[in-house]
Amino acid sequence: MRELSHLLRELEPPPGGLQRLQRAVAAREPSPWWRARYIRLAALSFVVLAALFMTWRMPSLLTKRQRTALLRDAMQQAITPGQNELRIQNGSALELPSGQANVRVYLVQTESP
C-alpha cells in the first residue's frame, strides 16, 4: 500500500525496453556460424600442434627404438645354444667369468648407428 500515491504518481516507463534488452543479449551470443568456425579452428590447431610435436620428438624416438633392436639382436646371437664361439653382428661381446659352468656372462655392446 503506497502512502504517497497522491504525491508520487506511478509513471509508465517508455516502451521498447525489453526488446532493447533482448537485442543486446542476442548480440552477445556467438552465432552457430561462429561456433562452427571456432570448432574448425580448434581442430586445425590440434593437428598443427600434433605435427609439430611429432617432428620434434620422432627422430629421437626412432633412434632409440633402433638401438634397442640392435641390442636385442646382439644378445640373442650371443646366447644362441650350440655355438662354441660368439658370432656378433652390429656389435661386439666380451665374455666375462661367471664362476659357474652352466652360466655364461657377456658384456654386449652395439655399434652406434
Binding site: R2, L7, R9, L11, A24, V25
Partner: protein, 166 residues
C-alpha cells in the same frame, strides 16, 4: 547457479516499472533512466554464471541504485543539470496532464531531501520490498530504513506544507 535468459526477461518485466519510478525521481531524465535500467540488466547478464535467480531482484535493485548514485555523482562533478522543463513534460505526459505546479513542488521537495532518505522513501513507495529486503539491498540495518523513511516523510511534509495532503 547460472542465470537463464527467460529469468532475466521475466525479472525485467517485473521490475521495469518500479525501477523506472524510483530512478526517475532521482535522475529526472527519461533517457538516463532507460539507459540505466538497460545497463543494470546487461551487467547482470555479463556475469550470468555467478547469478542466483532466487536473489536476482535484490541484485537488480542494488546495481541500479549504485549506478544511479554514480550518475548523480558524475553530474555534480560535471556540473550537469537535467533540463527541468523537458523532464516535467515527460512527467506530465505520463500523468495524463497532471498539475504542472504540484508536480514541480513535489520534485523540488524531493530534490532537497538527502539522497539516502529519498532513496528509502522511493523504494518503500515503488519497489514493493519489505523493510528487511530494502535493508539488504541498501546494506543498512532495518531500523535505519524505518528511521530514514520517517525523517524523509517529516521533511517532505515540512517542505510541501499544505500541499502535502492535497
Amino acid at each position: 547457479m547460472t542465470l537463464r535468459k527467460e529469468a532475466l526477461y521475466a525479472c525485467y518485466q517485473r521490475l521495469e516499472k518500479p525501477l523506472y519510478n524510483v530512478l526517475f525521481r532521482q535522475l529526472w531524465q527519461r533517457e538516463d533512466c532507460q539507459d540505466l535500467i538497460h545497463d543494470t540488466f546487461m551487467r547482470i547478464w555479463e556475469r550470468q554464471a555467478g547469478v542466483n535467480e532466487e536473489t536476482l531482484d535484490a541484485l537488480v535493485w542494488t546495481i541500479a541504485l549504485n549506478l544511479a548514485k554514480n550518475r548523480l555523482r558524475w553530474r555534480v562533478l560535471r556540473k550537469h543539470e537535467p533540463i527541468d522543463e523537458e523532464a516535467m513534460q515527460d512527467f506530465n505526459a505520463s500523468n495524463d496532464g497532471g498539475d504542472f505546479l504540484a508536480e514541480r513542488r513535489v520534485r523540488e521537495a524531493l530534490r532537497k531531501l538527502p539522497n539516502a532518505w529519498r532513496e528509502v522513501l522511493l523504494l518503500s513507495e515503488f519497489s514493493g520490498m519489505r523493510g528487511a529486503e530494502m535493508a539488504e539491498v541498501l546494506g543498512i540495518p532495518v531500523g535505519t530504513i524505518a528511521s530514514r523513511k520517517h525523517l524523509a516523510l517529516a521533511r517532505l511534509k515540512e517542505y510541501l506544507g499544505e500541499h502535502f495532503h492535497a
